[in-house]
Amino acid sequence: MNEARIGENALDLALIERVQRGEKRAFDLLVTRYQHRIIAVVSRYVQDWSDAQDIAQDAFIRAYRALANFRGDSQFYTWLYKIAVNTAKNWLVAQGRRPPTDDIDATDAVQYEGGSRLRDTDTPEHELLRQEIERTVSTTVKALPEELRMAFTLREVDGLSYEEISETMSCPIGTVRSRIFRARDAIDQKLRPLLDN
């Protein structure tokens, strides 16, 4: 049965609807889904790790309170991005600092989110753990069988849909789904002990 896929934007909307019905745990799923990207956005305005975390947390809290006003006419991430930028700018102004004048539009933000390096001034242990996580993920991906690695990187790095990957790799969508899951599972097996400790 080829029932329509939900799509990432519709997934966000489904989570938002659950939050609006009082299921606050659904907001936790949104936070864990976008926390990394939002911290990356905020880090363009502040370099200190703990400040960036505080501002990002504040942005999520503001987003929660404003969720009743989110009508779904834009993508949730675009809306959240604007809140994060405004929160960061307000924080800079409150610190007596001038926010940068060249704003990057949310639709172009993806290409600027990578590569930001925050100074972890408070927790060197966190910095070490972060490096270990990146090393583990990278090593595990490189060790994956060719078909798993290709499907997984086409999805996670290049952002292709399952249908596009299916055409690229000349295999059924179900096979694509299976390969991506097996790749994630293999990485998870290596990563989980690191995080649990």
Partner: protein, 215 residues
């Protein structure tokens, strides 16, 4: 592997879900399950961490980040949608109309038990497509008898407190009350709280209106 979503294990479904590649029906079920399944939520969190790592994004590896956000919103009110607010505003408007009508009845002479019963059509829900209910209120029902003294003892005994000697009812009050009896009878009237003129006592003791006010 079978293409049928229903035969997939929850973890496989979750992998498809975070890519937006699960069917809508199965997504609904899985989202409900996610909120109750800590192991699945852990996978959700770790897989998004892996995604961030591969994309070179800053890694919020500390579970405390999400926990602090959760603690802050735990005490916050649920952000309700506009539809719910619309229903609440309709209900609020109806409550205001009812109180205005009741206040009008209080200034009428005679015992409420001796007065003919007022038949008011019951309110219908705001999304009803039914016909407009016709009000059975008559103009004379709302027109107070201004002849009795407003501050004699018998009035105090009946109403419990002396009415303001400066309160001389104005024909504009009639107009005001009639407008609102008509509004209260209209079931599809959107919240007319913003449309209620504020009645204020003017320096000469005559009650007038200052214009519409928005709550």
């Amino acid at each position: 592997m079978n293409d049928d979503d229903a035969s997939m294990q929850p973890a496989v479904q979750l992998s498809a879900l975070i890519d937006g590649e699960l069917s809508r029906a199965d997504s609904r079920f899985l989202l409900r399950r996610l909120e109750a399944d800590a192991a699945l939520r852990g996978q959700w969190r770790r897989w998004h961490l892996v995604r961030a790592s591969l994309r070179g994004q800053a890694l919020a590896i500390d579970r405390g980040f999400a926990d602090r956000v959760n603690a802050a919103i735990a005490v916050a009110a649920t952000p309700r949608t506009a539809n719910v607010d619309g229903v609440l505003r309709w209900a609020g408007g109806l409550a205001v109309a009812a109180s205005v009508a009741f206040a009008a009845l209080l200034v009428m002479p005679g015992s409420p038990s001796n007065a003919p019963p007022l038949a008011v059509s019951p309110p219908t829900p705001p999304n009803s497509t039914g016909q407009v209910a016709i009000s059975t209120l008559r103009e004379s029902d709302l027109r107070p008898d201004l002849t009795p003294a407003l501050h004699n003892v018998s009035e105090i005994e009946r109403f419990g407190q002396p009415l303001s000697p400066s309160l001389r009812l104005d024909p504009r009050i009639d107009e005001y009350l009639l407008r609102h009896s008509a509004a209260a009878a209209h079931p599809l009237q959107a919240s007319f709280a913003p449309l209620i003129p504020v009645a204020v006592e003017q320096p000469d003791g005559v009650v007038g209106k200052s214009g519409p006010s928005t709550p």
